[in-house]
């Protein structure tokens, strides 16, 4: 279970998150939607500490993350990062390592798995995302869609309790977007818990268990996709959906 309680974040004088609370149960797919600048990515990045926050708290299973900097927060973050993976818009693969090494890097050096075990596991995962034949390639020689598959594999190799997707398809063309969405759909079907910031409405509509509309640092509306897409309660939601449909 991941639980965010009343998260507030200020940037200079401006509040970018104004008390956001949400809860993701085990095996659940949670999608954050909303206009640009609404705080979706920032919220996602507070969960694994890429962004700090000013008040509130975050709980991942039995680990509690508080806003005050210090060794306690560092320790909590270290544990959270081992259990919660992240997939980035820009992939951020390690260009000086092969595909296989990208995937085995953290299991070997963070989880202290043996090299053999890590390689075995990495090959299995690469095959699962359709990259089994590219293990010796360098990231620079791969297409964007292929790089994102490797990035997902890299996260999966840590056997994460949850994966944070930060606009995973925004840097991709429509065809490769569809490929990545299908990989993510398969993951969801296998019971992988994930929190996804995306503009891909089809994914939210068909895969999400919960959808949250984030606007101006607040959650405007939450609910299952049927409610959000078929019967939105809030004017902000309706406005966002009609803008998204035009685009």
């Amino acid at each position: 279970m991941i639980e965010l309680t009343n998260i507030v974040k200020r940037y200079h004088q401006q509040e970018v998150l104004r008390g956001v609370s949400l809860r993701v149960a085990d095996g659940e797919v949670c999608v954050l939607l909303g206009p640009s600048g609404g705080g979706k990515s920032t919220l996602l990045r507070t969960i694994n500490g890429l962004e700090s926050f000013d008040s509130g708290s975050i709980r991942v299973s039995d680990i509690v993350l508080n806003p005050e900097p210090g060794p306690q927060r560092d320790l909590a973050l270290f544990e959270i990062r081992k259990r919660v993976g992240m997939v980035f818009q820009q992939f951020n693969l390690f260009p000086h390592r092969s595909v296989l090494e990208n995937v085995t890097e953290a299991p070997i050096h963070v989880l202290k798995q043996s090299r053999d075990a890590a390689v075995l596991n990495a090959r299995r995962i690469l095959a699962r995302v359709g990259m089994g034949d590219k293990e010796n390639a360098r990231p620079g020689s791969l297409s964007g869609g292929q790089q994102q598959r490797v990035a997902i594999a890299r996260t999966l190799a840590m056997n994460p309790e949850a994966i944070l997707f930060d606009e995973p398809t925004s840097a991709l063309d429509p065809r490769t977007t569809a490929e990545i969405i299908s990989v993510m759909t398969d993951l969801a079907a296998s019971g992988q818990r994930m929190i996804v910031v995306t503009h891909a409405m089809s994914f939210a509509r068909t895969v999400a268990h919960q959808v949250h509309i984030l606007h101006a640092g607040r959650i405007a509306e939450s609910g299952p996709p049927e409610q959000i897409f078929e019967n939105p309660q809030e004017p902000i939601t309706r406005e966002f959906l009609s803008e998204a449909a035009k685009a």
Partner: protein, 551 residues
């Protein structure tokens, strides 16, 4: 799911641990215990069994210079004097190379027991150091070009020609410089040279309007055969005394040196040595110290012309003289020495550069990721090191560090040897540049790399070590190889702290053989042979990098 205990992060030998170990090892290696500064110099020398005397081979003949027959052997009248003094003390002489003007510093540092290298007596030196009775009374000789009829006396020198002051070359910091300055004041222009033979050569060729040269007489006598276009003008003048210098505290040593010189004067051994190098003359004889077998006075010798030219002693042949050589002969004779010294250049470079890169990396990390109390001093370090010349840094390390060590660890008698000081100086100097290169390299790695690494549970130091630094290193390799080439050439500066590397060896050999061109070309070739492969490597690295970026 496999869970790793938190302790594993702490227990693992960290990046910092490796860094500390390496630094400690480096420091231990750099600080080598050697010299002792006890009160009684003589006892110390007898205990050691060697008398360490300092001189600069680059000064050349007839003082101390590589033997024309075997350039790896030293000859010169001071080599024989050192032998004579050491024999008197019952020990073996040991030569120690040092830059001429820095020899008194080596005495202060305790590296040598004596300075024996044409140092003249001055009131200042007598106050600071123990100075022996003179082993040689030198005079100064004015030299002009044979073809120049307008210069025939000291008076001519002081008169301007065509409204232009005469230009005189002298050895910088020598008695000749003092003499000309006092005598002529503003009425001549003085050109300072670092080598006596360079000054003569420049005068012979009339380079940059130089008309005349004022030279210690023994040097002129020794080299006169090699400079056929120069001639002596007027009688020798401006008498001065070559003395042996000791530390002020080493009174017993000074006394023993005096005894040995006095005895050698009396029994004719000194005359023999000077005759061999053709520099015995009437001035030496009229000291009246030499006695015959019965202890009787030997007066001024009519056979010894005072001008010192072609001195021939009755029955004693002059055996050592200047033998200029050139062509393949000189390469064959002295090339091996240059190649061996190139080895020192290589050794200095390949030891200093990795240390420079390592310190540079630590400095860059301190500036980029360290807290302010590390970052600020690191920034100051870079500016300080970049803003001061390498030669000054080397000098400070070599002469200041032993003093600091003596204050910090009294009684432990720690010092730093010349090679270690040279490596340290080069490493520190270059570390500032490597730090800036590394800082640029690390900053050009996209932020997403660090984010991806820590999102995978890596600690910051693990992420730096495995993800950021390897990528940055590939970026900085070409500019660093470029710096490595520069460092190769900068090793030449190390001769100020007694390290004889390729350049210094070239000066020593070229001046003693008079083969500036041949040995110069060989030296240039050796430098090129060392740096060219690195140039090729830089180009290849740059090419690979740009291909990778496109790919």
């Amino acid at each position: 799911m496999k869970k790793t205990p938190v302790q594993s992060l702490v227990a693992r030998p960290s990046f910092r641990f490796y860094a500390q170990t390496l630094l400690t090892l480096t420091a231990t290696w750099l600080i080598a215990s050697s010299s002792v500064t006890a009160d009684d110099g003589l006892d110390r020398i007898r205990l050691r069994g060697t008398l360490v005397w300092g001189a600069d081979q680059e000064g050349g003949g007839p003082f101390v210079y590589p033997s024309p027959d075997d350039p790896s052997q030293l000859v010169g009248f001071e080599v024989e004097l050192a032998q004579l003094i050491a024999e008197h003390l019952g020990v073996k002489p040991e030569f120690s190379q040092g830059q001429w003007d820095k020899l008194p510093d080596l005495l202060d540092r305790g590296d040598i027991d004596l300075v024996l290298n044409g140092y003249e007596w001055t009131p200042n030196r007598a106050q600071r150091y123990g100075v022996s009775i003179p082993y040689y009374v030198f005079e100064l000789q004015l030299l002009g070009r044979t073809a120049d009829d307008s210069l025939t006396s000291w008076d001519d020198l002081l008169k301007p020609v065509d409204g232009r002051k005469r230009k005189v070359s002298v050895l910088g910091g020598s008695a000749a410089q003092d003499y000309v300055e006092k005598l002529a004041g503003d009425s001549v222009e003085i050109a300072l040279f670092e080598g006596a033979t360079d000054a003569m050569e420049a005068t012979e060729l009339g380079l940059s309007g130089i008309d005349a040269n004022v030279q210690d007489l023994p040097i002129w006598v020794f080299y006169s055969d090699g400079f056929s276009q120069l001639r002596p003008i007027g009688p020798p003048t401006g008498r001065g005394f070559y003395v042996v210098m000791t530390r002020k505290a080493d009174r017993d040593l000074l006394k023993a040196v005096n005894e040995s010189l006095f005895k050698a004067l009396q029994d004719g051994r000194l005359r023999k040595i000077f005759t061999k190098y053709r520099i015995w003359n009437e001035t030496q004889a009229t000291r009246g110290l030499e006695t015959d077998a019965d202890g009787g006075f030997i007066g001024g010798d009519a056979d010894s012309p005072a001008d010192g030219n072609g001195t021939k002693e009755s029955g004693e042949e002059a055996t050592a003289s200047y033998q200029p050589s050139g062509g393949w002969e000189v390469i064959r004779q002295r090339g091996g020495l240059l190649v061996r010294s190139a080895g020192m250049t290589v050794l200095l470079s390949i030891t200093a550069m990795p240390i420079a890169v390592f310190i540079g990396l630590l400095i860059a990390l301190a500036r980029l990721y360290g807290p302010w109390y590390l970052g600020k001093p690191a920034a100051v370090y870079v500016e300080l090191v970049r803003g001061t010349p390498l030669v000054l840094q080397l000098y400070l390390i070599y002469f200041l560090v032993p003093k600091l060590l003596a204050i910090l660890f009294p009684g432990m008698e720690l010092t730093i040897n010349a090679f270690a000081a040279a490596v340290m100086g080069l490493a520190i100097n270059y570390s500032a540049y490597e730090a800036e290169i590394y800082r640029g390299g690390i900053r050009s790695i996209p932020r997403g790399q660090m984010e991806a690494a820590i999102s995978l549970g890596m600690s910051r130091s693990l992420a730096l070590r495995r993800i950021i630094i390897p990528q940055a290193t590939r970026l900085v390799l070409p500019p660093m190889t470029n710096d490595f080439i520069a460092l190769f050439k900068d090793t030449a500066v190390c001769s100020v702290i007694t390290v004889v590397e390729l350049s210094k060896q070239y000066y020593i050999q070229a001046r003693s053989a008079g083969a500036i061109v041949e040995l110069g070309l060989l030296t240039a070739l050796l430098y090129l042979a060392m740096s060219y492969p690195l140039s090729v490597m830089t180009n290849r690295l740059e090419k690979n990098l740009s291909q990778e970026r496109r790919g």
